[in-house]
Amino acid sequence: MKKRILLTAALLAIWSVGASLQTRPTAAAPVANRESDFLTRIRRLTVEGRRAGEGYWAPDGKRLVFQSEREPGNPFYQIYALDLTTGDTKRISPGYGKTTCSFFRPGSDEIEFASTHHDPKSKQYQQEELDFRASGKTRRYSWDYDPEFEIYTYAEKTGKYTRLTNARGYDAEGSYSPDGQWIAFTSMRDAYNRPLSAEEQKQLEVDPSYFAEIYIMRADGSGQRRLTSVPGYDGGPFFSPDGKRIIWRRFDTSGLIANVFTMNPDGSDVRQITDFGAMSWAPYIHPSGQYILFASNKLGFENFEVYLVDIDGKKEPVRVTYADGFDGLPVPSPDGRQVAWTSTRAGGSDGQIFLAQWNHEKALEALRAAPLRVGVR
């Protein structure tokens, strides 16, 4: 889950900033909702392994593809597909290197994900990480934005991997358009394909995500094109259900404040949806097209909750989850009746994927009742 956000690393150090964010006034007293209004039959889906997250649905709603650390010998995420009918799980990625951010290609047997397995040092890095853990030392967790990350597809029928990107710098966070013909993704290639100023060079060493921008390409990897050009981490793009918009989140240059935005697939007509003054990210549009689910730490620096906001961001967002720790990366099922998300509610600091029934009618009702957002344009 970390790469679609800089989760804890920098943040813990700057608690006071987070604390001040909490006191930001809202437009009106929020309507008293409970988690059970929106989410019922909450259940933990993944059990095996140290951590799992970022579950994305197959177009038929019968499978979920996700990342998990669950095999001995590799301390990094690999990609797995879970069959929601049988409970069977199979690995999609090669089993070595680092991987992240998978997505089913509609109308195809392909699954897209980002991986570093072509890096000859992959297995060396795995061993180094295992040795580090065995030493008993701990480090603050941070996603390392390995510049070797490239986007791949895996064809389930043939078992063949195809590499779609070939640019130094982190290429990941890909997702398909509903017709399966386009991939929106995040790349930090801008930091590597031009001369950097001294200040930029320093920035790259401290936090390369500053250079992350949204790109688009055809499903075969051709026609790669940049859509955003604003300093700070632009990432986590997904298409709207009608394919006419892209939703993503944009960090400010400090890496502390993030907000949800939408734009046309050619990069035009950028609109800001959220304005919590906190870290609001991991947006996903409900299949009805009427509203957006996203995560924010508005209520406390380490307390991420899932929120709901209308598609235009005119209303005050409505809180969905009510659990300590992390609740984020919400992804509604294709029929809009379930939600998969990543949560630490089972205890510990490592997330697992949870699943619940989603009350669409109640969501619409809550949005109708929500007050207009302060300062809405």
Partner: protein, 606 residues
Amino acid sequence: MGQFMKRILIAVLLLSTSVGAQQTAVASRTRAAVEFLASDRLEGRDTGSPGERLAGEYIAMQLARAGAKPLPGHRDMFMPFEFTAGTRDGGSNLTIRGAGGASQAFRGGEQVQALSFSDDATISGAVVFAGYGLVVPESQDFGYDSYAGLDVKDKIVLVLHYFPEDTDAKTKATLARYSDLRYKALAARQRGAKGLLLVTGPRSPNAGQTLRMTFDTALSGSGIPAATIGGAVANALFAGAPKTLAAAQEEFDSGNPHVPGFALATSVDLATKVVREKQTGRNVVAYLPADPGARIPDAGRPWVIVGAHYDHLGHGTRGTSLADKTEAGQIHHGADDNASGTAAVLAIAETLARQRMRRNVMFALWSGEEIGLVGSNAFVTSPPVPMTQVAAYLNFDMVGRMQNNRLAADGVASSPAWSRMLERANVAAGFDLATNPDPYQPTDSSNFNQAGLPTLFFTTGSHTDYHRPSDTADKIDYDDLDRIVDFAVAVIQSVANVDMAPEFTKVDPPQTGATLAGVRVTTGTIPDYTTDAKGLMLAGVVGGGPAEKAGLMKGDVIIEIAGQSITNIYDYTFALELLKADTPVKVVFTRNGERREVQLIPAGRR
């Protein structure tokens, strides 16, 4: 089965079936069994009681109906075991001989009474006072040994109950761990003492009173005669001593490890006699054979055991009842604890009987769980099938009161195979599964963990009716209990069909040392065992108890009590040792994520 018993059983069965049919539109696979087992007729299924007999007959009948058979080489499904149903003093007495030759005899429970684990013996010897009789093992690097510099070989040792009263919390906390009476007796025996006398010192709660004979399920004594004596007896023993008992205790109460014990001027003749009433309880054990055509590798261990205890507390007269004053002595129905688990295992057997398995699946319904896991312990001690042939043990205890779709699976660290099997089975079942690595749980599965088997223990957790007469069948959530049956069948099928048996991982027991022996107070809290939230989450509070009076409620998470931070149940037990009855303490807890504080006044524990 006697004719009389059979007639009653059939009558009751007919009755409960017809009532059940009226009440339920959709047939539950577990309701009839829970309603029968938790009915008044079975009087709480106390181990060895007629109610337990009847429950056992019912279970055997249901297993046979499902198609399960007695184990190979067994004529029926009953596996009796002997246990100690009660202990009483059989006339222990003590005579003190002073230096001048005068003697003074004592008998009667107020003066001298054997401890429940005492050996029966008649001994004579000089008396040595050894303070609190505490020995902290060297491994703890603490440095406290009541016997340092004392020669107690072939002497009779007199020690104080509890642990030093006036010392700092940390010292108390350490010493409290070793203040269990059995531990004190063991320490005295290891130093060569031939007997132990225990007195509750004049500066401690319940000063000068002898201890009640506690219920102890041990079949025999602990290898040393041990008795509790009244204050007057202790004072008589101190005749001719350089200081009084009270003065001596005050010195020890400082916690200073260098305060020496000393020989008294008196000697005693001590006769101890504990009458242990032996009774017989019955486990009910049957199996469904593997598909004859299926072969598993030789090392694959051809058995899986699925178990639940069916005994409960009877009328709650022995030990662990939490009935309040208005309910005391009533039938403890034990619908959730553990008619629910029993019904689940019966329904599992019925379902599996229609399926093919590559391993034999054994169904074990235990008695004697509530009095100390006695039935399953007897089974593991002399197993009808060698433990080396058993792939795993799955346990169901209190599975009938699901809340928020949450099912706890404890013992996941006992095998690397568990998490995958649970994840796979739960995709269809859809529980909010709360996994807990620890296989050392207060239920029958811990005996199998000790025997080296991978174990899983399923439970929906505790509640305010726990161990009270109000744990009744109408409060059971049968829909979810039936879901648990389906989930369990899927997990059992995984174990029953995999080539190689799940590998066993030995988990180190929790390093706490906390025992209830040192706890002298009650707070009236009911811990929630289905969450591994940091702190102690409450599944409820005992009505009228200190926690309820303090305003604590279900769902609260205690994170600090009396300045001790609490991260789990062990920390909590440990902190309780340090509390004094009627002395208010601050409790810090979170409610809906918000930090709060209250004052709680612990009540004395008898």
